[in-house]
Symmetry: C2
Subunit: 342 residues, 2 copies
DNA sequence: TGTATAACCGAAAACGTTTTAATTATAAAT
DNA sequence: ATTTATAATTAAAACGTTTTCGGTTATACA
């Protein structure tokens, strides 16, 4: 249909050379003002559009940035991606998304694929830190492509990260539960090989100790981030000789499951049992019995990650600046743990 | 750091020409088996990676596909995108995401930007059908880039779409409310210039008529998809001479707001008032008073859109095949409208 | 008038592929 | 031994830019 028109076409029309056209369009100062205007005008009249692929090949920059997340259909990750997109869009970057589904193999693949596609940077939340897939990461660093971790990070020299203070999140929540009068607080923990879960746990533990409460290993239940996992955890906890009177869950979904199971057993919340979650998923505030949770400000996290990327992308220095941004967690106290107001 | 190595490097090493290398790597049958193996082996040993940008320039195909949505941080859109990504990933496509934030201007921009970036196709949910931005769409069609609408569609010749049967969704839900004994059913409607909302409304209306109930204009309240909009709507409805005894909302969020407002007024749900929503947002099934809602199978919708794209992308015919896929809505009956079980 | 300098523009290479057309090597047929 | 057919490879163009390096032309200065 509409023929592709190139700088050669417009050069031919004006009896000048393509180089001049290119320079004129790029505001190169070595071009006479009159010809620049002429070029720009006829370019517009011919409906010229720069071929981004040619530019990409020539410059080696694709103007794409890759984002790798476990999955996109979670409110947290979707919000982070939204933040990234909104921050980068004005700078002309397009966002390419990849999912790992928590599979290290997929994570590896995605890393290689993105490098192959010559993205200008990669922003990601790590799926797994235990398996040895350093090859893929080393490949990224060797290619000098800026790499930024968000939320789930990994210790690699020269790699920046944007996270929240999970320790503080765990500490604040536990302290809050203690303030509400809870004496024996259990913890539903995600995979502690991931730092975020490790730190939430450590914050929880420290708050207990700082308040003179004893830490019990049996109160820490490993869970996946599913509703049913929360139910099962309650089942286990209530069979202990001294069952707890509160739960701090590192997952909102598990917290929800715990609440459902507690109510099924006619245990009154928050009167006899308090529950708090983590992530501030939308449903936590929609429930009739709204759920206390820690907000991770995902939108801000995305924007911040994007900003860190922008800082690094044009640094010609081979010296890598390693920037660690730590956002403050925000505890949203709701009915599931508010004894004072109920 | 690691030098970029090209097919010229490996050609030089083997004393052959780059063309042969290219053909060998692409399994061109005109290459002797022995040399092909040799080329592949040394390519691997030299850690050769094909330059995708060069390939893109040469072939005119970027292997990227653009997805335009109002926003990404909604469960529905995120799930659709997940479906698209999962279906297209095995075919080597990368997914580029753009948001419009319901702004026709942004929608236009995104369309032009994606075409500029020479994506191989565009899958989108239309933001606005009233404003005249046909230029951007015409531009897409002229460039012969496959365009697929999902959910929110627009009538353009030669453009395929994947939607659900919104009429049926509205009809089923309304019929269900009638079956539960509701006599006067109100409807919270989204912007009816969008077909999805128009059709949900028409399904609602038809179900009323088919059951001998009178349709009242005053029972139809326009709402945005926010919780507060649902509250306001209830406020209006209860001030009517004959208030309704049920609500079919085209938005789960508005349905939630309605429920909150009804309970605040001590109206018992579902005994005295039934409520049903649309979209099957995750929170609808998490609530203690779970909310009846229509599932749009977003994952399937995304996968289907991707499949339609794949069908079209390699058609060399200039004849456009216009494919209209209509998925079946699935009514999830829950507590907010189940009198039988409560 | 001659020279130096700056301003402006052109020629051609470069980015790394694929592909058309031409050429050589090999085998088969006469 | 010579032609013919075919298989395998090469040479070069093409995709659409940007950019290095020169080359004019004009201007300024002596």
């Amino acid at each position: 249909m509409s023929e592709k028109i190139t700088i050669y076409d417009i050069a031919e029309k004006l009896n000048i050379t393509a180089a001049t056209v290119s320079r004129a369009l790029n505001n190169n100062p070595k071009i006479k003002e009159s010809t620049r205007e002429l070029v720009i005008k006829t370019a517009a009249s011919m409906n010229y559009k720069q071929n981004k692929l040619a530019l990409a090949l020539k410059s080696g920059r694709s103007n794409n940035i890759g984002v790798i997340v476990p999955r996109i259909d979670s409110n947290f990750f979707a919000s982070v991606i939204r933040g990234i997109e909104e921050e980068l869009h004005p700078h002309g970057y397009q966002v390419i998304i990849c999912q790992t589904h928590e599979s290290p193999k997929r994570e590896n693949e995605n890393l290689y694929t993105l490098i192959d596609a010559q993205v200008d940077g990669i922003i990601m939340s790590v799926t797994d830190v235990t398996t040895e897939n350093d090859g893929a990461f080393r490949n990224v660093l060797e290619k000098n492509v800026p790499l930024i971790f968000f939320d789930r990070s990994k210790h690699i020299d020269g790699v920046s990260s944007v996270t929240i203070n999970d320790f503080k999140g765990g500490y604040l929540t536990t302290q809050h539960l203690i303030n509400e009068g809870c004496k024996s607080i259990a913890h539903l923990s995600g995979d502690q090989s991931l730092e975020i879960f490790k730190n939430r746990f450590l914050g929880y533990k420290q708050a207990l100790l700082d308040n003179g409460l004893t830490f019990k290993e049996e109160y820490v239940i490993p869970v996946k981030s599913f509703v049913d996992a929360g139910k099962d955890a309650v089942d286990v906890l209530l069979q202990l000789q001294t069952p707890p009177d509160a739960i701090f869950s590192s997952s909102d979904f598990a917290a929800l499951g715990a609440i459902q199971e507690l109510r099924a057993r006619n245990i009154s919340i928050p009167k006899d049992f308090c529950v708090a979650g983590f992530s501030n998923e939308p449903f936590t505030k929609f429930m009739e019995l709204s759920i206390t949770s820690v907000d991770q400000s995902p939108l801000e996290m995305g924007k911040m990650s994007a900003r860190v990327f922008l800082e690094q992308v044009d640094k010609t220095d081979t010296i890598k600046i390693e920037k660690k941004v730590v956002l403050a967690p925000e505890l949203h106290i709701r009915k599931s743990s508010s004894r004072s107001s109920s």
